[in-house]
Symmetry: C3
Subunit: 275 residues, 3 copies
């Protein structure tokens, strides 16, 4: 895992984010904290030009609007043309038909290197592929369908299938994280429950993921797994440091942990197996 983070800190990839206004500040700060450089831009008239100068593009469906989806389509096509990394975070895709259709169009028009969501969001994407109905509520994962030891094999198989269908790395985050390219699957057990009691841990990970893929184009699956381990391990360190202080301090400690992590720490702290 060490070299993937080392590469991010050495290369400092410039990442273009078209993202929601709720967690944009967190995403910018976490990209700086992991060694990358962020730019946020969602005006259609400038998106392609900016994407063309960046190493990665991070598309996030939170607080979407019609103009922003058009901008994402333009930027995504430009990134594909330049063979830059593109990541999709389908925030709240289960919340309604607007986001579902947006996700469908983005998946049709753009090749994504990775798609990251919680299990509810990823299931909605899977249902789009199957052209059948599926439910997801809000932006948080539903308890009934989270990944557990009991349904692990089944979820790995589903993630691999979706990865093959969409020809992209699928990253499912939760108590157990899955990262698969359709053949191998990293099962990652880093993380801490407090991460789900603040907003934006998922959006932050999607930013970091984009940076890791951009800085490690030869080993995308491994780099994606390293990004997930880093965020999860940072979540553990933040819990140790902040204790029972509360969610405000936890959020600050999470950023601290990302900014202080180096390759050796990540190597020691990463907790995963390959299936």
């Amino acid at each position: 895992m060490k070299k993937y983070l080392d590469n991010v800190r050495r290369i400092a990839p410039l990442i273009h984010n078209i993202t929601n206004y709720v967690t944009a500040n967190d995403v910018a700060n976490v990209l700086l904290a992991c060694g990358a450089s962020p730019i946020m831009a969602d005006e259609e008239a400038e998106a392609e030009e900016i994407t063309a100068q960046c190493m990665g593009l991070n598309l996030n469906l939170g607080t979407p609007n019609q103009k922003k989806i058009q901008t994402m389509l333009k930027a995504g096509k430009m990134a594909n043309k330049r063979k830059h990394v593109v990541v999709l975070d389908p925030v709240g895709v289960g919340a309604g038909s607007f986001r579902r259709q947006a996700a469908e169009e983005l998946l049709k028009e753009i090749h994504f290197d990775a798609v990251r969501g919680n299990i509810s969001e990823i299931r909605v994407l899977a249902s789009l592929c199957e052209s059948e109905e599926n439910s997801g509520k809000g932006v948080d994962a539903d308890n009934t369908d989270r990944v557990t030891e009991e349904n692990l094999a089944q979820n790995i198989a589903a993630a691999k299938m979706l990865s093959q269908q969409l020809k992209t790395i699928i990253v499912i985050t939760g108590a157990i994280d899955l990262v698969t390219d359709g053949s191998k699957c990293y099962v990652i057990k880093n993380g801490n429950p407090q991460m789900s009691r603040i907003t934006g841990a998922g959006c932050q990970l999607s930013g970091i993921l984009t940076a890791f893929l951009a800085a490690n184009p030869e080993d995308k699956l491994q780099a994606a797994a390293a990004a997930v381990c880093m965020m999860g391990y940072a979540g553990e360190l933040a819990a140790e440091k902040s204790g029972q202080s509360g969610s405000g301090t936890y959020r600050v400690s999470l950023m601290d942990a990302v900014s202080c992590m180096d390759g050796d720490m990540l190597e020691r702290g990463a907790c995963y197996e390959i299936r």
Copy 2:
């Protein structure tokens, strides 16, 4: 007060926020901190569908624009149709005719379960009802018209009258907070002056208020008072914890205090009388 917070933590109401981009992150985090679940969405094409799935709708007039006001109208009508809780936070309604007209239209088209603002903002709303001019500057309360022990009786009477006119719970926050349904008025003395030296304490309270009303539909006035006591008491605890560290630490401690509060603490800490 205990049961109203317990209900929020047990029911975890999903709250739809159409809010400003300055404090959206704080509002999302504070909703998670009090046990609710936030979704932010302001695209007209998705607002009704999202509102229909939520238990409460929080409309906040900060950083308004014409499209967002249209979205608020649609979402508010849907929430009324489904008998979901709707709260209005008329941020900076005294800052000009655009926000005043927006507030006027929202109050005409939508039934609100509660309206929360500082005394300057609430006075502007009262003036709209009286179809006469009134002044308010910026988003902060003017010193000249804040609620004090001296003008308390007069402000309670005015708040009750406005509550009757608008058929909604009126929440006026400041050094002394008033919460009234037109007949009873809670006079709440929780809080700390440092809350006014950070941005967003008011927006955060409006989010919490929506969650408390959504989780306690049978006791809206009491639930509203509990929400106000909770935020104020969290402000006191944050001041104790952060001391003279400064406004950055205070803001973090405020979020900590909300996330760590349980029903028993709120019961002990709430400081109010009923008039």
Copy 3:
């Protein structure tokens, strides 16, 4: 330096910010922390009316869009008409033609009291004046052209020339900061490298700068230098306090340091010479 900060805290100028959604929360909080009062508003229909009631206008080119640029033009003209202070922060102006053209139009239509950027951004503005091409990447300063002891004289001369051309105070921030009105130049050595590892320190300074100019209209150059010293000295104090905790804690400590600073502290901590 003391009296410029004292004036901000005494007068509490209301500052209208048309700014990006990434750091809007930080800008609002830092304005409160230095004693000013913020309002954020970017709807064209309300911008002029709000600007007219404020003492200063802060225009920030981050996350721009076509409507926001139109709003900036209207608000800027109103501020000029009322002789209110106007500041431009050309965030990422080197990132593409949309922001370059926006900056060009703003500089043509509006008189700015000060323009603040990093050296890459200011060089792009200089190139606009020379109607020749220039490059700048993203929102971060390029290492190759930062201000150092070696190229100091040359950079001072260039800053003075640009200040004369644009008839505005030029503020260039980096390891060494320059503040010039075309004849005198403050060379400021406050600051800490950790400021560039969080997002928004520049945007925060532009907010503070607007407040200092608004509260000190008789001594704009000195007030601008005081604002830059204050932010830089706060950055030093934050580094002392947060140590190696990481970028989350550093960001909180930076806000703390601004909120705790008084005129005497600034007087003692300011580190500058005049060239």
